[in-house]
Symmetry: C2
Subunit: 329 residues, 2 copies
């Protein structure tokens, strides 16, 4: 199949960039030093490529992702790095090792009630989101053990740091965040200190495993960090459906692209605005109806989640089509 | 089923508001005076409710929507109000009447080549997007007829007008936009003058049919127009998964909500920020882990498209669960 034959809008992944990103990360963080986050690509096929490079433990953001990974036979070691108040669907997964994050008595109770066997204590390391205070981590671990749960260690996501542009500042802030996590780890025990993201994968030397996900497909928000060696592999392919004297319109809009983290960019054009199914842009050169344009993404994760499949391309050839099969909740 | 039993994030529709919106519109624009736009809800079940009120002709934004409506037996009169450069999938639909918008020789050719029988000439009425210049409409219709296509009339979406806050200005601008469309109609001929949206449904007295979609579920962008009689029926239900001393976190984020047209609002809270799967907010009153919160939407269409199903609720009872079965392309 040729790229010209794809119905648009379509998610397109450059094969060479994908290979580069896989190889670069596998060399930097071999085997279980990386726990790839599947939320970035939501595809068991891409997860299988990561397993092929030696990464057999995965991070998930939703129960659906855990279910899908287990059903695909990729359940060696699945961490749901998120709190849930109903773990019933996790408890009935028997063909995978499932660990869930807890940060409160209520989420410990939910894990125990739902039949999950193991937990990590999620610690707030500076991002105002989930995670307990480091000083509470030991007590939560104790409560979890009393409820019969295995406590594997701690996790703490330095999400307030991963996008910091300056390498030096990012390194400093990562160290400060991990100092909080290590205090908690001292109280909690266990083998696992899980943290990190694409922006800190090389800086975070305190965690035993790094939860990076975006490195595989990348986006322009992360590409703006100049010290990262990963390449932008993903774009949305669109078809020009209208050309006027002042503007052109292509068939990728708000339903095919995510608008958080800044607007997507049309290659060879200045974007005027997006509608549900359209982007109106001023083309730099001549375009005609039927031309294909590439839209570069500011934020991969929510964009991928809007599509049913992604196509791996080598030049004009579509060499693989993978389902985005971990969508929904 | 009770609302407490829903896995979150979940799309929830208030049954009374839905009924109010259905009834109000059916009275204002009975039967084929309304050609409901399915892009707003992407659900054949909701389309069937609209058919139950007498609206049997529908507007679609994507080929997938046309296919899905035809397969569901709702294909009396389906208008794809959008340009396509490959109409093959439309041409093979034999159990529906399919009309497609054209605005250039290339899109006429695509319709003819793809085996579509009928077209509307799409006219630019002021929004910088698709649609030909009114002065070109007659020539495009002539070309379409020469290529063997039935030309049913014209369409022109006054999308630059529908969100205008002042009723008077909106009325004035609608008239100006429709003046452009009627000029084109004079040259094109045919029975159909298709235009309008939720914001102009009562003002646009020139079109023979109105393409409103958002009226059914509504959103806060449209609710800000004080002359509209429709009620906000839709919200995203989320579960509080973390409560700290300064903020709380619920499980609806960028993948469950659309961020264009302004940020969604958490009822009873001030939103700090959204992440992929979370909203961090300061609750106005006391909340505990496990509480449910409602997130109100700025823009219905791209939000609905992120979900597989929607639940119609009456108080705490879930009375229907409908598939959002027209997603994708």
């Amino acid at each position: 199949m040729k790229i010209q034959d794809l119905a648009t809008p379509a998610l397109v992944v450059d094969a060479a960039a994908l290979e580069h990103n896989l190889a670069t990360m596998a060399e930097a963080l071999p085997g279980k030093r990386l726990r790839p986050h599947v939320k970035a690509h939501k595809s068991t096929a891409l997860a299988r490529l990561q397993t092929g490079r030696g990464h057999t433990a995965f991070t998930c953001a939703t129960i659906r992702e855990v279910e899908g990974m287990a059903a695909a036979g990729l359940g060696d070691d699945l961490l749901l790095a998120n709190e849930v108040t109903d773990a019933t669907r996790l408890g009935v997964i028997h063909d995978a090792r499932v660990t869930v994050a807890v940060d409160s008595p209520e989420t410990v109770e939910a894990a125990a009630r739902g039949g999950v066997a193991e937990v990590l204590v999620d610690v707030n390391v500076g991002l105002p989101r989930c995670g307990c205070d480091p000083g509470d981590a030991g007590r939560i671990a104790e409560f979890a053990r009393a409820r019969g749960l295995g406590v594997r260690g701690v996790m703490g996501y330095e999400g307030h740091v991963v996008g910091e542009e300056s390498h030096a500042t990012r390194a400093e802030q990562t160290e400060a965040a991990m100092a909080r996590l290590l205090v908690a780890h001292g109280d909690v025990g266990g083998d696992v200190v899980s943290a990190g993201g694409t922006g800190t994968y090389a800086l975070n030397t305190w965690a035993t495993e790094i939860q990076a996900g975006s490195y595989l497909l990348m986006d322009s928000a992360y590409a703006a960090l100049e010290d990262l060696p990963f390449r932008e592999a993903l774009c949305v392919l669109a078809t020009v459906i209208h050309v006027g004297p002042k503007w052109a319109v292509a068939d990728a809009g708000l339903k095919a692209l995510s608008m958080d983290h800044g607007d997507p960019r049309v290659e060879g054009g200045d974007v005027w605005f997006y509608s549900d199914e359209h982007v109106t842009f001023r083309p730099a050169g001549g375009v005609v109806v039927g031309d294909r344009v590439r839209v570069r993404l500011a934020h991969v994760d929510p964009t991928v989640a809007k599509h049913e499949r992604l196509h791996v391309v080598d030049g004009d050839d579509v060499i693989e089509t993978y389902a985005v099969d971990l969508r929904g909740w």
